[in-house]
Amino acid sequence: MSIPGQWYLILAAALFTIGALGLLIRRNVLVMFMCIELMLNAANLSFVTFSRMLGDIGGQVVVFFVLVVAAAEVVVGLGIVVAIFRRRANASADDLHVLKG
């Protein structure tokens, strides 16, 4: 009845790499944030898979906390984005390069 855990894990890996690729390629700050969310979801999927494979509720507990923390992180992150890009024409991550060495 159950699907082998490896399939889930490979799917999670694929989701993660797509998220990583998007983070590296896109310049719009909000889309970069969404890619981060993709990566978090991939991690959550892996945790739940392991929870099922090992019969351990601890995996799901972790996902629970990851959800909470992700929510908080998005709140604060978007607050920063708003604060920085309030008056910008284009919210692009490439405009913040004053720390260039």
């Binding site: 590296l24 889309v31 993709l38 507990v61 929510a71 709140v75």
Partner: protein
């Protein structure tokens, strides 16, 4: 549960469809030029993941995923998109940083290939005993088991995340508020960091763009 060797047809079908939804949503996020389209693709991905949660008997998490992630977080994203300009389009084809795209593709290919290779060839499950409590012992509902674990074994983490949420809210409020007229300009990051290339004057109310819903203190005193 690792009992059955062959997955059943309904399960496989569910998995396949969910996987397709997830991956297409993900690709949609990274490819869309419009930010709103990207947010909607993200919703699709989140729904797919929720379905897979149910498939893996993590019912509570699936519901919470929908309510919190797709319901609250994505909505928050959309709010901010609206705030910063909904119809702005990013030129996806152009890449100003040299070597970024090839290097990115190479690295994620290596990462994916590596994980897949590991997943195929390595032994994952060690057979160790459950630490936090078994998922199925006692035939309790998933919520029961999860709640018991959170409120007893991981109580401290739970309280800490509660505090974290409060702090996050306070922080967001502080970050996003506009400075009053009598505060010096440049406090709390109200000025954009890279101001010079744009040539934007540090003018509090010159910007007329997408509505700033904050009370117009300045207009009163003007």
């Amino acid at each position: 549960m690792l009992g059955a060797v062959h997955p059943t047809i309904p399960d496989s079908l569910t998995f396949a469809v969910s996987a397709a939804v997830i991956l297409s949503g993900a690709i949609g996020v990274i490819v869309s030029r419009n930010a709103v389209h990207a947010a909607l693709s993200l919703v699709a991905t989140l729904f797919g993941v929720a379905v897979l949660f149910i498939e893996e008997q993590a019912d509570f998490l699936a519901v919470v995923q929908i309510i919190v992630y797709a319901g609250a977080i994505v909505v928050l994203f959309l709010f901010v998109i609206m705030f910063l300009g909904v119809d702005r389009r990013e030129n996806v084809a152009d890449e100003p940083l040299r070597g970024q795209r090839p290097m990115a593709l190479l690295l994620v290919a290596i990462a994916l290939g590596g994980v897949v290779a590991l997943g195929v060839s390595a032994h994952w499950a060690t057979g160790a005993r459950a630490v936090a409590g078994s998922t199925t012992a006692g035939h309790h509902p998933n919520v029961y088991v999860l709640g018991k674990s959170v409120f007893t074994t991981y109580l401290f983490a739970f309280e800490a995340t509660a505090a974290l949420l409060v702090i996050a809210v306070v922080g967001a409020v502080v970050l996003a508020r506009r400075p009053r007229m009598d505060e010096a300009a440049g406090l709390t990051g109200d000025e954009p960091v890279a101001d010079e290339p744009d040539g934007d004057p540090a003018d509090p109310v010159a910007e007329s763009g997408a509505g700033d819903g904050s009370p117009t203190h300045e207009e009163v005193s003007r």
